[in-house]
Amino acid sequence: MADQTSLPPTVSLRGVGHRFGDVQALDELTFDVPARRITVLLGPNGAGKTTAIRSITGALSPKAGDISVFGTDPRGEGDQVRPRCGVVSAKPALYDRLSGYDNLLYSAQLYDVPAAGLRQKIVAAAERFGIADALDHQVGGYSTGMKTRLALSRSTLHDPDLLLFDEPTSGLDPESSQAVLDLIREMTNDGKTVVMCTHLLAEAEGLADHIVVMEAGHALCTGTPDELTERYLPAAMVVLDAEAPDQLDRLAHMTGVIGYDRTDVARIELDGFGRVPDLVLSLARDGVRLTRVEPHVPTLEDLYFAVRRERTELLAGRPLPTLDTPDPQGFGRANARSAGVSTTETVGAGHEEVSA
């Protein structure tokens, strides 16, 4: 595979703004979508994720800002952009009265898929997503999972370079969701660029190569999961438990411990994982019988809430460090405290070499 970092971004949004009446749907939205990667737009309902997707294909034309998709502006040259995009919207957007085959045929014809061997292409696309057996049935009789699979088949039928998935697992059971996510991962192996919107942190976990956290039409932060973790959750975090948990409270005063919280278990934040052996030894000397010592690998959920908390702080007027100068004190933790949120939500930052 080519060096992906050398490729220009497939999508680039700069200061994009769009209003729906009184609602500012996109507000100075800025982010890039790296080529041949999965970019996840993460944010609560109403964050502007769907509007961003619609702006990328030119289905909506924001008045403000610059948009570049494959090097062209979809607002003026949408006819060059849309044929290269495959979209799965939150509702599968299928024609219930038509058969699965006819739905795919309609899309193939609109996207100018050559007529030669079209039937084979349709069947192959359906087989890839495990829906070939139901192609002759009316879509109105499909389950939600079948509809999603058909919508995914439709989005890939014309072999697009950019796939845009808006909450593709919405309404699916966990097994079907996982299958869909696996299929999405497969697509990047084929060299496709994927943009996926979700408000479900669990489904973005492990799938995202690049993350854009959005809120109120604005990108709060963008980067790879590792970059964002280093930026927002730099502290080493460890979970401890003991036969007498209250004895763990002494950890709060020990050297190297920069954060402490105990609810069901104790969670500490350290200035480095190198402190762990000394802390364990010290506790043992004090007669504390430890039952658990475990580095905490930060999840996307940890990261997401850390970013959201930073936003809260920013709105409250607290000066924040820039992205280029990470807060050595551990931003997520500091903000969690000042915002009155339990640090149990932000424990994290285990580095792989320490965890191992």
Partner: protein
């Protein structure tokens, strides 16, 4: 403008209509009622039952027809003349009411329906241009009404000739005016009405609202079309031609303006864009 894409949009919409029994069964029933059942009852009453009172009533009505129309009436007996006038002049509005009613019902739901089902999102992201979508939808709305009318017209022709032909001296229908009416006057009226209905369908928020609004728009148009088509039949052939010509000009202007009503934002149902 990609004509192929326009046909694909139209064909797919028509395919969906064909799958919807709840739509086309009433459509066929309406056509059958207006083109077959009612004319058959009236013509049989006049020619076979020989109800003198009805024949006299209709004969009196014929006196109010323009002279040009009266001079066209054929038939050797009062029953023959009456059935000729009934078949040629008095059923003309049927040819207008049926296509406008059917096509308006389809057209009203066509764009707002895409939005309600969520399929507007698919079209908005697709390579099809707003113009291709608009014209595709227009054709898909026009075809069911017009096709029903043409088929109904064919069956009506056979029915009229079989029942009233012997009284008139042989097969006489369709007359030249009816050919002009069916293929020159009705299509632009239909296109003009649909251009308005599609604009409404693009702008309103629900199919129910679209159907109500379309009813308000199409009713006066049906009345106008009724009057004009009757005039086209009553007058000389050239008057039918001019009525159609004016209708075509109005329809083309309205269609070209109507294209602007379909936007991707409206297909998406974005709040302030609708």
């Amino acid at each position: 403008m990609n004509w192929k894409r326009m046909w694909i949009v139209a064909r797919t919409d028509l395919k969906q209509l064909a799958q919807a029994k709840d739509y086309w069964v009433p459509m066929v029933a309406l056509g059958a009622l207006f083109f077959l059942v009612v004319p058959a009852i009236l013509l049989l009453t006049i020619t076979k039952i020989g109800n003198v009172e009805i024949v006299n009533q209709i004969s009196n009505t014929l006196k109010v027809l323009p002279k040009a129309a009266q001079s066209q009436i054929r038939g050797t007996s009062p029953e023959g003349k009456t059935s000729f006038a009934l078949a040629v002049f008095l059923f003309a509005p049927v040819a207008v009411v049926v296509p406008l009613t059917i096509s308006t019902a389809v057209g009203a739901a066509t764009i707002v329906g895409e939005r309600e089902r969520g399929t507007g999102e698919f079209l908005a992201h697709s390579p099809a241009s707003a113009r291709e979508i608009y014209l595709g939808k227009l054709i898909a709305s026009l075809v069911p009404g017009y096709l029903t009318t043409i088929v109904g017209f064919g069956l009506y022709s056979v029915l009229v000739n079989v029942i009233a032909g012997p009284e008139v001296g042989g097969w006489f229908f369709p007359t030249a005016q009816w050919w002009i009416l069916m293929f020159w006057v009705i299509p632009p009226f239909l296109a003009f009405t649909l251009s308005l209905v599609l604009r409404l369908s693009a702008r309103v928020k629900s199919t129910a609202a679209a159907q109500q609004a379309s009813g308000l728009v199409s009713l006066p148009l049906i009345m106008i079309a009724y009057g004009q088509s009757s005039g086209a039949l009553f007058g000389a052939q050239v008057s039918g031609f001019y009525v159609g010509l004016v209708a075509w000009v109005i329809a083309i202007v309205s269609l070209s303006r109507g294209v602007r009503s379909v936007t991707r934002a409206r297909l998406l149902g974005v709040a302030n864009e609708v």
